[in-house]
Amino acid sequence: MKISAKLGYTAAGATVLAALLTPFLLMGTFSKGFVALGLQVDEVYTGGPKVRAIPMGAYSINVHRPVYQHFLQSEKPFVQLDWRPVSALPQRVSDAVDVDGDGQPDLRVSFDVPRDPKASLRVDVDSLNPRYQAMRNAGKERYSRLIVRVDNAILVRVPLANP
């Protein structure tokens, strides 16, 4: 048998072995290798990393790092604010929020908190800082301009006016 044929059969045998090892070894190894690449899901979906929490008594507001678009992405830059836990929120929330941490309020965010977790949400945002856009009766039109309930938090995304 030629050396190339020997190599071919060896590789074929290794392939069968790889198939048998896949659920026990290869899947885990490849999966860990992929995680080790350090990739992140696009912040347009995740809302970006949390930078600080503002305690509001029974609940808190998490402020996320502003998210900017890549290349020709259609979403505008925005900042995400989370109110959590929903169970501790009053029926009507109207909070002045210091987004950039300079001690001055940048936004006043107002929304109703319905008891039904599937009920649609609407938010009004008054801009107290020209960096942020005001929103009137906004729902979930775009990733950069929305209010949604995710698990035990209400997320509000406010577009940046002057990124």
Binding site: V16, T22, M27, F34, V41, Q73
Partner: protein, 386 residues
Amino acid sequence: MATDAHILPLARPAPRGILRSLLLTLPILIWSLLMLFHPGTNTDPKSRIAAALTAIFMTALFFMMMRTRSTYRWRRYFFVSLGILFPIGFIHNLLVMRGFMGIPVEEMIAGRTPFCFMPIPLLILPAAFTRTLVFPGSILGSQHGIAAMVALWLAITLVMGKGWCSYACFFGGIEEGMAAIPPRAKIRKLDTRWRYLPWAVLLAMVLLSLALFEPAYCMWLCPFKAVTEYVAARNALGLVQNAIFVLLFAGLVIMLPLLTKKRTQCSFFCPFGAFQSIFNKTSIFEIKIDPAHCKPCLLCQNACPNLSLSKESIARGETLLSCMKCGACVDVCPRQAIVWHIKGTEIAWKPERARLMFLYAAWAMAVMFGGSIITQGVATILHFLV
């Protein structure tokens, strides 16, 4: 080219003995039980029954492959079952979890969009340039996490190359089933230049995904959104997207396979299939044509479900890069001139050995991945029937 009168069929190989076929099937039976009954799964009786039925089904098909020495039609039973049962199990899961098939924005933000393999080529450039994955899912997560699916894809691709499209893809079975329905094709002449279209779609989608920073194919062109998880139509744009999904599904997955008896979506459109073709170069298993035996009757060309044989490629003794290793050409050849082959070995030297080695690897993957999907689909049906 030879006429039919010149094609003298060689004697078909005799069926393998039952005992020998059973012995060859035994490893697959053990593997099926190991994969479908591993601890932590199938806790309720219906799921156990579904797993048992799946194990019997997969083992019986493999036995028939061994006994008859043919591959295509037995593989097709598995593949069509996979294509039909995947949407049943998947949609049922969606309806139980969220009550409807549309993906709401809340689920995308929460990273709970199930990740299928289709966007894998679309993620590469954005990840390379920005270390960002343009998909609203989670990297971790045992069931539908991005890392788990990428790992599974990589393992199966290492083993089978483009065999993925015949033994693992849970979409291709629908059109393969459609193509099997009519006795003969209504449209027989297909312009072979359409074969290049998946490459064009792949290139366009990869560049668009980078430019728009979204999985462009999933957002705009995936026909299988129609039977899995569509974009929740919150506005006119969403309606347009869903209309495109439904039209492409009706045209490429239902109508054209019925008219042509080919897997038209795979042959003329699927960018993942084009991407997967590249890995036929790295796979050790391939299909070869033995020029010493071939009278070019072109039966193989007609039988190929995705136009992976041309007169030129037959003359060269090989399939095109897009070959899915389904075995249709091997089984149809009246002179056994088309054979399973291991790279580096001589053509037609113990081709059954090459076929067996490929089938053990491919069927092991099929049971592990497709078997669990079939089990879920059968369990869903049992849930409604019993």
